[in-house]
């Protein structure tokens, strides 16, 4: 069973490597959206420093949501999803492996590039650390919750926008806590509480979301 899961992750990574444009578009989207904010609200340094964590978080959230469409749609179209559903490994575990690979390809790059973008907003060192850590904990949660939405909207007309409508309300707590971590750190309280909460959300989502997404996949394929 572990071999099967490892095989699935390796497969997804291979596919991402051979179609690297998919990965690059998500990262580029993140960069562009973050750069749009100063253009929209003015480049006053103090203002930018205040809004930086929120801007980074919203942009990461949107970029993450963009990437969700890729999670199951391609496999559904070419029949691989059916094979996954008829396999010897429980579908929940397969979904968990897929979400992990999806995060490695669409979430982790955002986390890695966020320090560079934070510099654009002149964010201080410790705050930068908190923001990156909050994104590192939060983006997997976004991928996990997003997987449920992607599974529910499989094969539907207008799936992309519908997916956003379904998933954004569920993203709100993650956004509030995630962006709040840096704000708390900035006001001297330290972001530990929020980071711990994010960790708890990650564990909770990691335990339940793959199973819920598996149920949703079976509903969608019927």
């Amino acid at each position: 069973m572990v071999a099967a899961l490892r095989c699935v992750i390796v497969r997804d990574l291979r596919l991402a490597a051979r179609r690297s444009s998919d990965v690059m578009t998500v990262v580029l989207f993140f960069v562009i959206v973050v750069s749009l904010f100063p253009l929209g609200i003015g480049a006053e340094p103090k203002l930018l420093r205040t809004v930086a964590p929120g801007v980074l978080w919203v942009a990461a959230l949107l970029a993450s949501m963009l990437a969700l469409g890729r999670m199951f749609a391609a496999d559904h179209a070419d029949g691989t999803l059916e094979q996954m559903m008829l396999g010897a490994t429980p579908l929940g575990l397969v979904v968990a492996a897929r979400v992990f690979a999806h995060w490695l390809v669409s979430g982790l790059p955002l986390v890695l590039i966020s320090p560079v973008l934070a510099l654009q907003f002149d964010l201080s060192q410790e705050l930068l650390g908190v923001v990156v850590l909050s994104l590192a904990l939060g983006t997997p949660v976004l991928s996990l919750i997003g997987a449920i939405g992607a599974a529910l909207t499989l094969g539907l007309r207008g799936a992309g926008t519908l997916l956003s409508l379904l998933v954004l309300p569920l993203y709100v707590p993650v956004l509030i806590i995630g962006a709040g971590a840096a704000e708390a750190a900035a006001s001297g309280l330290g972001g530990h509480a929020q980071l711990l909460l994010l960790g708890a959300m990650l564990i909770f989502a990691g335990a339940f979301a793959p199973w819920a997404a598996a149920v949703a996949l079976r509903i969608s394929v019927e």
């Binding site: 007309r157 309300p169 704000e183 708390a184 969608s220």
Partner: protein, 246 residues
Amino acid sequence: MSINWFKYSSPQTFFPLAGRLALGFGALAVLACAAGLYLGFFVAPTDAQQGESYRIIFIHVPAAWMSMFLYVVMAFWAGLGLAFNTRLSGMMASAIAPTGALFTFIALWTGSLWGKPAWGTWWVWDARLTSELILLFLYFGFMALQAAIDDPRRADKAGALLALVGVVNVPIIYFSVKWWNTLHQGASVSLTKAPTMAATMLAGMLVMSFAFWFYSIAAVLLRARCIMLERERSSDWAAQYARGAA
């Protein structure tokens, strides 16, 4: 006397019962609404700080309570449908959503109307209003998902899963928004704390809550009847009903 509840678990038998119940609850709703509005607009005393404009809470608060209550009820029916694979449960959940969305919208709109004379702005990022806004998105998401799926069985099950995920998230959303609000607003403008509750004010709100509840039952049952007719249109009883009504 033991009632055979399962007798009513098929659309065919539930349809006439729903019609009678809807009529009864509709009448009750009109009465309760009249009583509640009378209490709210004429009997309850004028508030010392806000004058007469506070009276909108007699609609705002019951509507907000209903919006959250209906979401939980919807999730309950959805869960039943998913667990026992019954058609009627899914139809009930689908019937509840628009009424729930309506009350959420009323809560938001009356909240906004209240905010203007009380605090000078049309919108306040109060914890409860913001949570209501997100609840409205959850309702819309449910309705949009069901509308996008052609197959009724898949629509029921997919909506059910979404409703269940939503109901788990509603407390999380509420607490995170509340926390966010205290961080950003400080001495917050809490819309429901404003007037100290005189007994008549509380009575008025409770009566209006019942009025909205009865209305919801009536509206949901009528909508459920429409859904039943639409889904079961190829069956005999529906065809008979259509002929009878024609």
